[in-house]
């Protein structure tokens, strides 16, 4: 559910640290009718222009706190709220070139009442503004 609203339109940008471009970022929402504690977000797989990003290069940032995906697995006092736009950061030297890019996002989340672990994915073309 909410698949087509996972990746927020117009949110693609390069990610810089100390004035140096270290990667790119976009805003993502949890495709679910409620939020989830971060320990239950098992994976956020990102694809950029058809290429899969390594899990260790993905960062998740909400309300000023940034986590690696491995760190999130044991975070019990923070959550990805319902509809909340989290910043998904991907470390990639030099970032992305200006223009259009195909962004794919697949979230795997553990839901207590489900007898399986769902993954919801969507791909959108976003433009990186000059």
């Amino acid at each position: 559910m909410m698949d087509n609203k996972m990746i927020v339109e117009g949110s693609l940008a390069n990610y810089a640290e100390g004035g140096v471009v270290k990667g790119f970022q976009f805003l993502g929402r949890l495709p679910y009718y409620r939020g989830l504690g971060l320990s239950m977000v098992e994976d956020i797989a990102v694809e950029i222009d058809g290429e899969t990003v390594a899990r260790e290069d993905v960062r998740f940032s909400v309300r000023g706190k940034t986590y690696t995906l491995d760190e999130m697995e044991t975070v019990y006092d923070d959550r990805w709220n319902f509809g909340e736009k989290a910043t998904i950061i991907v470390l990639k030297d030099g970032g992305l070139a200006h223009g259009e890019h195909q962004v794919g996002m697949a979230v795997r989340y553990r839901v207590s009442y489900l007898p399986f672990v769902p993954t919801t994915r969507f791909t959108k073309t976003l433009a990186l503004a000059a």
Binding site: M1, M2, D3, N4, K5, V8, E9, G10, R29, Y33, R34, G35, L36, G37, L38, S39, M40, E42, E73, T74, Y76, D77, D78, R79, N81, F82, G83, E84, R110, V111, S112, Y113
Partner: protein
């Protein structure tokens, strides 16, 4: 006392997810429709819960809106994420402690009922019951398809509730368990996913004929079904046309109803759930709680069109008002939301 109308704000999820509708929009719209009972999934409507503290201003806002629109807080639906820790399920003691926190949160919201998901075990609810009594709340387990009132798991809950002697434990039936026809919005979605029409039609007819799902699964496999067609036939193993009258045995413990619906047509009919029979049974059983709209067609159509949850809730409220013998059709007088948001 008569049956009362309400709305679970779950119904407006596509609009609240993007911020198109605020909490005030949801409550005002429901109130204008005469659906004065408001049910929430606490963690959908209040950011933070249960991992970090909810802003007290958000709780104050809730109470302000309930008062402003003359509404009644009906239920806080809690989730109890017992798989919070990767690789292990929370112990009964941990689960009871978690339910106690939800009881406190429900009391803060001023609701009378807490919804427990059907996968929660009876010992957890029985152990939490005394605290619910202390706070003046009842915990209601949601009887939801594929479960139903004759399923041994629900019978076990019923027996545990009786044995406990507590009247703080009860049931919240979800009307989706009375799925008397294959929902047209499901059928259309499966066609869009690529299910061959002959297979889709076969499944709809088999459902109408009440054929045992296992036979239908095999027949559809023999027709060469794969991928989405297997997904479509699988829905028959998770849904069935149970009888609304099965609620009658449990009436003393039924305190809230989820008015689940997948679609209300423009002539005010839910094509797959027999609300005429349902309301007749509830009247017969002397039910005097709320029927809260729970729109769930959104996820079946959103790939093809933007859901209009408000219009769907409006139609269901008109349908319910007529079935309950109200003299006038409910209507919305204020636009449900102001601006478009991403």
């Amino acid at each position: 006392m008569a049956i009362k109308r309400g709305v679970s704000l779950y119904s407006y999820q596509n609009e609240t997810f993007t911020g198109k509708m605020t909490l005030e929009d949801c409550i005002r719209t429901s109130a204008e429709l005469g659906a004065k009972g408001i049910e929430v999934i606490g963690e959908q409507s209040f950011w933070g819960w249960p991992e970090y503290a909810v802003d007290p201003a958000a709780i104050a806002n809730w109470h302000g809106l309930i008062a402003k629109y003359d509404c009644v807080p009906v239920s806080h639906d809690f989730m109890l994420d017992y798989k919070r820790f990767k690789g292990r399920i929370m112990s009964v003691e941990e689960q009871v402690a978690s339910v106690r926190r939800d009881i406190e949160f429900g009391a803060q919201l001023g609701v009378k009922y807490l919804r427990a998901l059907v996968s929660i075990s009876p010992e957890v609810l029985v152990a939490a019951a005394p605290y619910a009594e202390e706070k003046g709340l009842k915990i209601l387990i949601e009887v939801h398809a594929p479960l139903h009132f004759d399923h041994p798991w629900i019978v076990r809950h019923a027996e545990a509730f009786e044995k406990s002697g507590s009247d703080a434990l009860g049931f919240l039936p979800d009307m989706g368990m009375f799925l008397h026809a294959f929902p047209p919005v499901w059928y259309e979605k499966f066609l869009r996913m690529g299910v061959p029409k002959n297979i889709a039609d076969y499944i709809v007819k088999a459902y109408e004929d009440r054929t045992l799902s296992e036979y239908v699964v095999q027949a559809v496999r023999d027709m060469g079904a794969e991928g989405p067609a297997l997904g479509m036939v699988e829905t028959l193993r998770h849904n069935a046309a149970f009888e609304p009258k099965r609620m009658l045995d449990y009436m003393p413990r039924i305190h809230n109803i989820h008015g689940k619906f997948y679609e209300i047509t423009d002539d005010y009919v839910e094509p797959s759930i027999p609300y005429d029979q349902i309301t007749a049974v509830l009247k017969q059983g002397g039910y005097d709680g709320y029927i809260c709209s729970e729109y769930e067609g959104n996820r079946w159509i959103e790939d093809a069109q933007e859901p209009d949850s408000v219009e769907q809730v409006r139609r269901q409220q008109v349908m319910l008002a007529r079935l309950l013998g109200e003299p006038e059709d409910p209507r919305i007088t204020t636009p449900a939301y102001a601006v478009a948001a991403e």
